[in-house]
Symmetry: C2
Subunit: 348 residues, 2 copies
DNA sequence: CTGTTAGCGCGTTCAG
DNA sequence: CTGAACGCGCTAACAG
């Protein structure tokens, strides 16, 4: 290991004192001619130290390249300034833009984010939660509202603010921010019925919330008089390729034309590409409704009619509510419904 | 704050003992009739404890909901099992897929990832590095090879493995894994020349490495006899909209047809969409070369000819080299060039 | 404004 | 196989 140029690699790190690392407040204090506590104070609240000693301390810090040990600080103060965040997937723009906004907001208040992917399904989420809690985060950001009983217990036991984002429920662990997924499906169905499409199909990715949106669409469509809905339900994540395959599958099921409700814009885009490849007119023969209003939805031709949800807003709202709790500003609302909006473009 | 139902919010956390939190190895030990060390041993190496006491300890843990305090553990052992990672943007699939692969690999070895976004440009990267180092990570994952002198010094002082990923250099801080960006531009230029396109244009996003690829393309194109290259250089991140605007810009500059080299597939896709919108034939009138081989590149019509780099492989390679160093397996290579490959499709 | 004294919860010796 | 003692680097009272 570079720079680990000791003879005995097994030797505890602490034995390598006096080198670049191992610079503590004690070291800095000695160099500045003050005690360790004074250094601590100078760092946490410079106004509690005289300008003269402050200067000496700062110089000593610069000379030694001292970097405070946040681990020790957290242990002593019971404040880690760490927020742990769990998302199904960081490569999915939907979640990454959510945590991005959340992180930026939290960083502004001095917090750092410990981020992990849970994959879909709460199996190993439990182990991840335990691993995260062992770092003693000051709060936790979770995606979705479905967590194992054991997970809930651990979270409650941790006695920290817990945000459940991207979905809402009446019984959050602590508080939740998001929107009603089923409602978006119903709204889309109503919109599509109004437009008078003869048939409807759904293409859905293999994620529980996506399914909930699709199911709601289909149920509502049929409830308000639509013909039975053709379905293509994938187990995999959404992708353009699945969108294309989705339309082909619908067609193979005897779907002859009408509206296709997709659980994401990515799938919708795939449907669009396949429709064009097959010479089908959009929205004349195939109309498409997506979900998410990702930036490409407005840019492709034809533009994708979709359900807009502001993921960045979710992240920000979660951060604000969390910060309020962290600052002990009482409990605040525990269900924050940010809603959604249907954006009409050319595809449906 | 939920569950923070003390009267005095100001009261130190430590004062709330005997509740759900504040369960320590001491607590567990008392319940199991053993000392704290024994609990520690039972957790770190069950074989060092008799089966009987092990069982009692496990029961006590289950009863109390004990979660080990990794902060204290790290402080005592100088091993945080934390890896810090810095990427320009987590919403960019290029980087997120890299860290995803990296994280999965590292998690397999028991490490967790502290992830932050640096944005582009090394200004605040420095502060972020300091913040991360204060958590005493066991190693660090950096994107790119351009870091301030101060940053380099801190990193060297930390005496931990440092991976610089996504680009290569002969003088890494510790080790780097990636490919030669300029080389991809040159290879693309050579490919395009061979295809006999009459003119060339570039559309580039505002990121230093993207620029390096574009510049190399233009220089090589002109060096091997091509006509002067038209350029559309954006300051912003790549997007479909910028791709469309890029082609419009090129056209406005008098570019009448030929090959367009894009710094990413996203831009290339935008160029494709704009070409179609303007009734331009691809690749007859406008040929397009992208970069990245993102999954949609093969799925759109026409398929995008692009430069494939395996980001997941970068993440994995970085993790493997890092783990080797973490396990003290000597230094290993310090420059890991994973190369790239031109993927020919219909767009050029 | 500054120093002293105690822990924070856990690993790591060293004895039994 | 188990326990006592000590220290990791820092914050939190309490004195001066």
């Amino acid at each position: 290991m570079r720079a680990m140029n000791d003879d005995q690699a097994k030797k505890p790190r602490a034995a390598r004192k006096g080198q670049g690392r191992g610079v503590t407040m004690e070291t800095v204090g000695r160099l500045a001619g003050v005690s360790q506590v004074t250094v601590s104070r100078a760092l946490s609240d410079p106004s509690k130290v005289s300008p003269a000693t402050l200067a000496k301390i700062q110089e000593a810090i610069a000379q030694t390249g001292f970097v405070p040990n946040a681990l020790a600080g957290a242990l002593a103060s019971s404040k880690s300034m760490l927020i742990s965040a769990l998302v199904p997937s960081i490569t999915n723009i939907v979640y990454s833009s959510m945590v991005k906004a959340f992180s930026e907001e939290m960083r502004g208040a001095g917090y750092q984010i410990l981020l992990s992917e849970t994959g879909f399904g709460p199996e190993d989420e439990e182990k991840l939660i335990a691993a995260h809690l062992s770092r003693r985060p000051d709060a936790m950001f979770l995606t979705g509202i479905h967590h194992s009983a054991q997970a809930r217990r651990m979270l409650l036991g941790a006695e920290i603010p817990v945000a459940e984002v991207w979905d809402i429920t009446d019984s959050p662990i602590d508080f939740c921010v998001g929107f009603n997924h089923a409602e978006t499906g119903r709204a889309a169905a109503e919109y599509a019925r109004r437009k008078g499409y003869p048939q409807a199909g759904v293409v859905s990715a293999g994620d529980e919330r996506a399914r909930r949106r699709s199911e709601a669409f289909a149920r509502e469509w049929e409830r308000i008089g639509g013909a039975p809905v053709a379905k293509m339900l994938f187990d995999a994540q959404a992708s353009l390729a699945n969108g294309r395959a989705g339309l082909r599958g619908l067609l193979a099921q005897g779907f002859t034309g009408g509206v296709v409700h997709c659980s994401s814009d990515l799938l919708a885009h795939g449907v669009l590409i396949e429709a064009r490849a097959q010479g089908l007119d959009v929205p004349g023969q195939i109309a498409v409704i997506g979900f998410g209003d990702q930036d490409f939805a407005a840019t492709v031709e034809p533009g994708i009619t979709t359900v807009r949800v502001d993921m960045a807003a979710f992240g920000r709202a979660a951060a604000q509510a969390m910060l309020a709790r962290l600052q002990g500003a009482g409990d605040g609302p525990s269900v924050i419904d940010l809603g959604f909006e249907i954006v009409e473009r050319q595809s449906a």
